[in-house]
Symmetry: C2
Subunit: 413 residues, 2 copies
C-alpha cells in the first residue's frame, strides 16, 4: 500500500453531532474515495457526549479512579465510529471501525492524559487491503496490557496526526467548524483574515494562547514527525490553512497573528526575602499540585527583598492561594494578592526573530489607546502582554490593525 | 487461588439503574468481602441504556452492520462497570473493571448473538492476587481477532455463569429485582409461591415460556458445566431459588410451576395437499428468515389434504404471512389465516415424566372453567396448551390451584 494513496481525515465533535452532520462528513470522505484513494477517518465523540459522561463520573465519585474514567469516557468515540461506519456501509463503502486497542495505539499509563508510545501500522495496512475506509476512534489508546487510556481534551487531533505519522501520510486533514486558522479571533475583529499557511512554531504559540483550533500536542507531534496539517471546514470545500515547517516565504512575514486568552489570573507575593532558592521554594509546591504557572516576573524592590508576580488559569487561583498561605512562614512574604481581572494578548510571528522593533511598535500602539501593560514576557517568536481584562478586545483590534494583519502581504513591517 | 474463596455475583440493569441502586449492589458485594472472600461482579448496562443505544442505531441505519452494533451497544456495560468500580474504590476496596476483550471472553463471530468459545481464567486468577473485586462487563466478548461481540438480550446472565464455570466456582449468584423463581407469575395469582429449588430442565422450560428471570442460554450453560445458580433479590437478604441438577427430592414433586406466554399468534394453512416433504416446504423458508416457530400441529382433514397450524411470536406474524403468501402456488393451500388472540399456558415439572394423569387432570380443570384448548403439545416435563387470550390469567390460576402449588409439599398429586 502506497502511503500517497491514503488520506487521513479527522472530524471533531461538532462535525459528528447528529445524523445530518455525519452525512456531511460522509460527503467529505467520499471525495478522496472517488479519486481512487483509501481513507482513514478519525472521529471525536458526538459533541456534548464527553461532558455528559464526565457529568456521570462527578455524580459517582469526587476522586474517581482515572483508569475507570478513561474506560468510561472512551465510549463516546466508540459510539460515534460505530454509527458513522453504519452510514458508510449503507452508502456501499467497504468500511469498518477500529477502537484504540484494536489497532493498537499503545500509550503510557498516565490515564486521562496518556501519551502515544507507538502505533502498529501493519494492521492498518492489512485492513486497507480489505476495506476502503477505516473509521478510527480518536482520543483513545491502550496500555501495553490492554487497559483503555485517553489522551486528554482535544486528543483526537493527536490521534489523527499520530496515525498519519505512523503510515507516513503526507497530509493530515483536520476538519472543524471553522474554515482555518485566523490572524486572530474573528469574534473580536471582523478584519481577522484566514491564513493560507502557518508554521508549527507559530501554531504552537497560538494554540497555547487560546486559539483553540488544534490541540497543542497534535502540533508538537506533527512538527516532530513532519506531518503537514490541513485545517479546514467540514461544511465547505474552501481551502483551509496549511500548518507546516516554516519556509523562506513565511520568514518574511513579521507577524502572523494575535492570540488572546481571558482565562488568566495574576498572583503577587510582595516583599519576599531575596534569598537563593526562593523561586524554587515558591514554584515547586505549586507544580507538585499540577497547577500550570504561565508568566513569571520578579522585581527587586529593595536590596534584600523582591516582589514575585505570576499568572495561573482562573480556576486554579483558590488552590494556588491555599498553597502559598500554608507556606507563609517558610517564604516570609509580607503580602499575598490575586487579581482575576486580567487577560493575555500575544503577538506571534516567526519573522520577528530576525527583526527588532516589533515590541516597541506594539507597546506604543497599546499606549496610544491608554492600555496599561501589567506584565510582559517574550520568546523568539512571541511577545505577550498581560493587561486589564476590560481592554482585551480593544488591544487585539489595535494590534491587528497596527501590524496590518487584514492585508495579504509578505511584509507587514 | 482456591475457587471456593471466589464468589461470582451478577446484577441486572434495574440493580445498577442509578447511584442509589449501585450503592445497594455495593452492600451485596461487601458481604462476601467481609467473610474474607474475593468477588467477581458481572454487571449489565444501566436499565434503559441498551434500548437508548439501539434507538440511535435505528435512526442511523435500517440494515445496520451487526459488528458495529455490537461495538456500540457494548458501551452500556462499559459505562456501568467503570462507575461501579469508582464506588468500590471510594469505599476502600481494591478493585478494577474488565471489559470482555480484556479477560478475554472469546466468542464466535455471530455478532449480536455470539456464543462463548472460551474464557481465559489465568488473567482472572492473576488479577485476584492484586484486587479483591473484579468488575466484569456482562453481555460482551470478543472474536479471536479482537472485534467486540455481544451475546444477545439478557446475555449478562450467560457471562456470569460462564465465568463461574471458567474458574470452577460452586455457585453463581444472579441478583435481580425479584426474590427468586416462582411457581407462576405473582402478578396473575397472589398464591404464587417462591420455589426453594428448581432443576435446570424445569428452569429451561420456564424461561423459554416467558418466566423471564434468567436468560435461557445461561441455564443451558449452567447445566452443561454444572454451575449452581442462586437467583435472589438485590434489595433483600432473603434466600432465593437454587437452580441445579434435579435430586431425588425434586423427583417427587409432580408439578413445579405454571408458565404463561402472551406473545403468541396462531397461523393456519388449510387444505394443503398431503405430499411427502410438505412440512419442510412450509417451514424451511420460514426458518431461513430467522422466524421462530413454536408449537406445530398437523391434522389430516381428508385423505389427500391436511391442515397445518403453528404458532409464532406476535411480532413475526406479518413476515410469516408474507412468506407463505409468496409460496401459495408451491404449497397449493386453500386458505391462510392468522389469530393473535391466543396465549400459551404450560405445566412444568420433572416429576411428571414418571407419572401419568397430569395432562388429564389439567384438561379437566380447564374444561370445568369452560376454557377451550386450541392446541396441545407435550414434552417429558411439560404440557403446553394454547388457549384464547382472554382466558390466560384464569387458566394460570386454575392450574395453580389444581396442582396445589401454593402449598409447600413434596407430592402435589
Amino acid at each position: 500500500m502506497n502511503a500517497q494513496n491514503i488520506v487521513v481525515q479527522k472530524f471533531g465533535g461538532s462535525s459528528v453531532a447528529n445524523l445530518d452532520c455525519m452525512k456531511q462528513v460522509l460527503r467529505n470522505v467520499q471525495k478522496p474515495l472517488a479519486d481512487g484513494k483509501k481513507v482513514i477517518v478519525v472521529l471525536s465523540a458526538m459533541s456534548g457526549e464527553t461532558n455528559r459522561l464526565l457529568g456521570l463520573v462527578k455524580q459517582w465519585s469526587s476522586t474517581p479512579d482515572l483508569a475507570e474514567v478513561d474506560s468510561l469516557v472512551s465510549t463516546g468515540e466508540q459510539v460515534s465510529i460505530a454509527l458513522f461506519t453504519m452510514l458508510l456501509k449503507d452508502a456501499g463503502v467497504k468500511a469498518r471501525s477500529f477502537l484504540g486497542f484494536q489497532i493498537p495505539i499503545i500509550t503510557d499509563d498516565f490515564f486521562s492524559s496518556a501519551r502515544i508510545l507507538r502505533i502498529d501500522n501493519k494492521k492498518i495496512f492489512k485492513a486497507l487491503e480489505t476495506y476502503d475506509v477505516l473509521v478510527v476512534a480518536g482520543f483513545q489508546g491502550c496500555t501495553e496490557d490492554g487497559r483503555i487510556t485517553t489522551l486528554g481534551r482535544g486528543g483526537s487531533d493527536t490521534s489523527a496526526v499520530a496515525i498519519a505519522a505512523a503510515i507516513n501520510a503526507e497530509v493530515c486533514d483536520i476538519f472543524t467548524d471553522v474554515s482555518g486558522v485566523y490572524t486572530t479571533d474573528p469574534n473580536i475583529t471582523r478584519k481577522a483574515r484566514k491564513l493560507d499557511t502557518v508554521s508549527y512554531d507559530e501554531m504552537l504559540e497560538m494554540a497555547s494562547m487560546g486559539a483553540k483550533v488544534l490541540q497543542i500536542r497534535s502540533v508538537e507531534f506533527a512538527k516532530k514527525y513532519n506531518v503537514i496539517i490541513h485545517v479546514r471546514s467540514t461544511f465547505s470545500d474552501e481551502q483551509g490553512t496549511i500548518v507546516s515547517q516554516e519556509d523562506s516565504q513565511m520568514e518574511s512575514i513579521l507577524v502572523s497573528g494575535i492570540a488572546y486568552d481571558k482565562d488568566q489570573a495574576r498572583i503577587t507575593l510582595s516583599h519576599v526575602p531575596d534569598k537563593p532558592g526562593i523561586s524554587a521554594a515558591i514554584f515547586t509546591p505549586i507544580a507538585e499540585q499540577g497547577l500550570l504557572v504561565d508568566m513569571i516576573v520578579q522585581n527587586l524592590t529593595e536590596t534584600e527583598f523582591t516582589d514575585v508576580t505570576f499568572t495561573v488559569p482562573r480556576s486554579d487561583v483558590e488552590k494556588t492561594l491555599e498553597i502559598l498561605t500554608s507556606l507563609k512562614s517558610t517564604l516570609e512574604y509580607q503580602d499575598l494578592r490575586s487579581d482575576a481581572n486580567v487577560c493575555k494578548v500575544s503577538i506571534i510571528g516567526v519573522g520577528m526573530r530576525n527583526h527588532s522593533g516589533v515590541a516597541a511598535k506594539a507597546f506604543l500602539a497599546l499606549s496610544d489607546e491608554n492600555i496599561n501593560i501589567l506584565m510582559i514576557s517574550t520568546s523568539e517568536i512571541k511577545i505577550t502582554c498581560l493587561i486589564e481584562d476590560k481592554y482585551g478586545e480593544l488591544a487585539v483590534r489595535t494590534l491587528h490593525d497596527t501590524f496590518k494583519l487584514d492585508e495579504m502581504s509578505y511584509s507587514n513591517k
